[in-house]
Symmetry: C2
C-alpha cells in the first residue's frame, strides 16, 4: 500500500476525465464523488472506478457532455433522462432539482435513468443535507445485467444490490445511511475468493439454492446468487430491495427486464423539515436525539455508540491528514488508464 493525498488523486482524476472528453465541471464532479468515497473508507466506490469509467467512455458507453433532459415534470416531481452521461453528473442534477422543488413546495421527488454508474449514492443525499438543510431519501438500481441478488425464497437473480441511502441535516455532519439491500456486493465476494477465505453464513446461495460459504460457488458455472441482507430477517432485506427497485425504475414506467446500455437509475426524495417545525426546534430536537443515542453505554466489543455515517466522517478526517492507501495493482491500473488518454502521471504532484 502507498498513500496518496486526496488532492493528488483529485488532480489525476480530473486530468484523465477531461482528456477523455468530459468538461472540467463534469470531470471535477465525478472525481470528487470517487475520491470522497476513498476518504470515507469506501474504496470499492473510489478512484479505482476511473479504470472502468474510462474503459466505457472510450467504448462509447458514457456520453460526456450529454445534457440531462426532462421527460415529465410537475411542481413537485420530475422524470429525468441522463442521456448516457456519467452517473454522478446525472444524479447531482436530479437531486438538486428535487431539492429545488422541495424548497418551493416542501417536498420534491425526481427519478433519473439512462446514465452510467453513480458511485456512492449517499454522496447525493449528503448534498441535500449539507447545502440545502433538508432530508433526502435516495434509491438506486441497475438494469438486468447487474442482477446478482435473489428474491427471498428464490435461487435465481432478480435484483441488483439495490442501495438505499438517506441524509438528515444536523448542526455538524449529517446522519447518513448508505446501505445495499443485499448481504454482500459482487466485488466483496471476489475479495473473499482472491484471499481464499470463507464467506459469512447466509450471504450467498449456490446454483442449487443452498446456502454456501465457498465464494467459488457464486461464480460457478453454474453460478449462484447473493441473498438479501438480514440473515433470518432476509425477507426484510428483500422487501426493501423491492421498494428500491420500484422507486428507482418501475415508478417511471420502466420494465424490470429492459436492457439499458447505461445501466443506472435512481430516485431522490427530498423533505423540507422547515414545514414541520420551526428550524430551531428541528435542530434542537436532532441534537438532543444525537446526544441521547450516543449516551448509551457500549455493548460488549464496542467502545461507544456511533451515529449513522459517523464512522465514515471520522475516516474522512483521518485520510485527509494521512492520505488514501492504494495497493500497487490499483495504482498501476490508474496509471495505465491515464496513459490511454495521453496523461502522464507525475507521482510527485501536489496541489
Amino acid at each position: 500500500m502507498n498513500n496518496f493525498s486526496h488532492q493528488q488523486l483529485r488532480k489525476i482524476g480530473r486530468q484523465i476525465f477531461t482528456a477523455g472528453g468530459a468538461s472540467p465541471d463534469e470531470a471535477a464532479l465525478v472525481t470528487d464523488v470517487l475520491v470522497d468515497a476513498n476518504l470515507m473508507g469506501l474504496d470499492s466506490h473510489g478512484i479505482i472506478r476511473v479504470v472502468w469509467y474510462m474503459d466505457d467512455l472510450l467504448n462509447n458507453k458514457i456520453q460526456p457532455g450529454a445534457p440531462l433532459t426532462v421527460s415529465r415534470e410537475s411542481t413537485t416531481t420530475a422524470v429525468l433522462d441522463g442521456g448516457g452521461n456519467f452517473g454522478a453528473v446525472a444524479a447531482m442534477q436530479a437531486v438538486n432539482l428535487a431539492a429545488e422543488k422541495a424548497k418551493q413546495h416542501h417536498l420534491g421527488c425526481t427519478t433519473v435513468s439512462n446514465c452510467h454508474h453513480m458511485a456512492r449514492l449517499g454522496a447525493f443525499a449528503e448534498v441535500v443535507a449539507r447545502q440545502h438543510n433538508m432530508i433526502c431519501l435516495a434509491t438506486a438500481s441497475w438494469s438486468i445485467a447487474g442482477h446478482f441478488v435473489s428474491p427471498w425464497g428464490g435461487r435465481e437473480p432478480r435484483l441488483t444490490t439495490n442501495p438505499f441511502a438517506y441524509a438528515i441535516p444536523t448542526d455538524h455532519d449529517p446522519f447518513i445511511l448508505d446501505m445495499s439491500t443485499s448481504a454482500i456486493s459482487e466485488g466483496k465476494i471476489r475479495l473473499f475468493r482472491n484471499q481464499g477465505e470463507e464467506l459469512p453464513d447466509n450471504f450467498v446461495l449456490d446454483a442449487e439454492g443452498v446456502v454456501t460459504r465457498d465464494p467459488n460457488d457464486f461464480y460457478g458455472p453454474p453460478g449462484g446468487t447473493i441473498l438479501p441482507f438480514g440473515g433470518v430477517h432476509g425477507f426484510k432485506g428483500f422487501g426493501l430491495g423491492m421498494l428500491v427497485e420500484v422507486l428507482s425504475n418501475t415508478l417511471s414506467g420502466h420494465l424490470a427486464t429492459a436492457e439499458n446500455p447505461y445501466g443506472q437509475r435512481a430516485c431522490f426524495l427530498v423533505i423540507d423539515p422547515g414545514q414541520f417545525a420551526p428550524p430551531t426546534e428541528f435542530k434542537t430536537a436532532i441534537e438532543q436525539l444525537k446526544s441521547y443515542i450516543k449516551s448509551s453505554a457500549p455493548a460488549q466489543g464496542y467502545d461507544e455508540v456511533i451515529l449513522p455515517g459517523e464512522y465514515h466522517f471520522r475516516r474522512k478526517a483521518r485520510r485527509e491528514r494521512e492520505g488514501i492507501p492504494l495497493d500497487p495493482e490499483t495504482w498501476d491500473q490508474i496509471v495505465e488508464t491515464a496513459r490511454r488518454v495521453g496523461v502522464e502521471i507525475d507521482n510527485t504532484v501536489e496541489d
Copy 2:
C-alpha cells in the same frame, strides 16, 4: 384454540368500544384494523389489543371522539395532533390527508402524534394503495416508555421497535412490507420465555451488553435490550430505526425523551405514480416486475418466491373462510373486558 369468524370478532370489538364511549365509526375503524391483523396472521396486533385499549380508555388514557387538529400545514405537508384518540383513528385521518395532498400536488407528507396505539402500521399504507392507487411509505415510533431497543454498539435502550411500512398498488393485492427495525418485539420475547425456549442468536443483549439466548436476561433485573435487526448487518437495522425515529418524531420538533401519555407518533408519505408515467405504463411495469420476481426457481427449503405481503394476503383469504384461532386465555380476557363495560358476549353471535 377455538376458531372465531371475523364477523363475530368485528361485532364484539364494535360493541366493546362503543360501550366505552367511542362513536360507531371510531369503534368500527379500530376494530377493523385489529381484526384484519388477525386475518393476516399478525395476531399480536389483533383483537387481543382490545384488552389493553379498553384498560387505557377506562383510565382516561384514550380520548374517544377527540378531534384531530392541525398544528402546521402547507400544500403538501401537515403536522397533526391526535388529541389522545385511538391511534387507528388518528392514523387513518393522517394518511388520508397525505393522500389528498398527493392527489393535488403529487406528493404528500403528514406527521401525527399524541394518539394511542395504531396497531398494524401497514393497514394505513394499504389504504393508500388500494383506495387511492398511490404509493405510501409509513413510519411509527413510541415515546420513551417504549424504548426497548439498543442503538448499534450500545447496551442501553434508546429506540422502540420503530416499524417501517410501505404499500405499492398493483392490479391485485398491493406489495406490502410492514417490518420492525428491531430483531424482535417485546411481546415475542415474552412468548419465548413463557414457552421455555431459547431466543435466536443476535436478537437480545443482557444488561452487560452481551448477546444472550436466554429470554429471562431481557427481563432481568437488571434488564437487557433488543438488538436492531440484521444480525451482522445490525448497523443497517439501526440506521433504518434512526430514520423512522426522525420522520415519526424529530421532524415535527419533538424531543427523543419527551414523555407523551398517548405514546404513538408516525409519518405518512404518499407518492402519486401518475406523475412519473402514464397509469397504464406503471401498472404494466409493476405486473411485469411481479412476474419476473416470482419466476425465480425456489431456493432450498422454499416452494416458491412470494412477494412482500403475499403470505399475509393468503392467510387472510384462508382465515376469512376458516376463522381466526384464539387461545382460551385471550378469549377469556376479551370476555372479561366486555363485561367491564356491560357488554354480554353471545358466543353464538354471527352477522
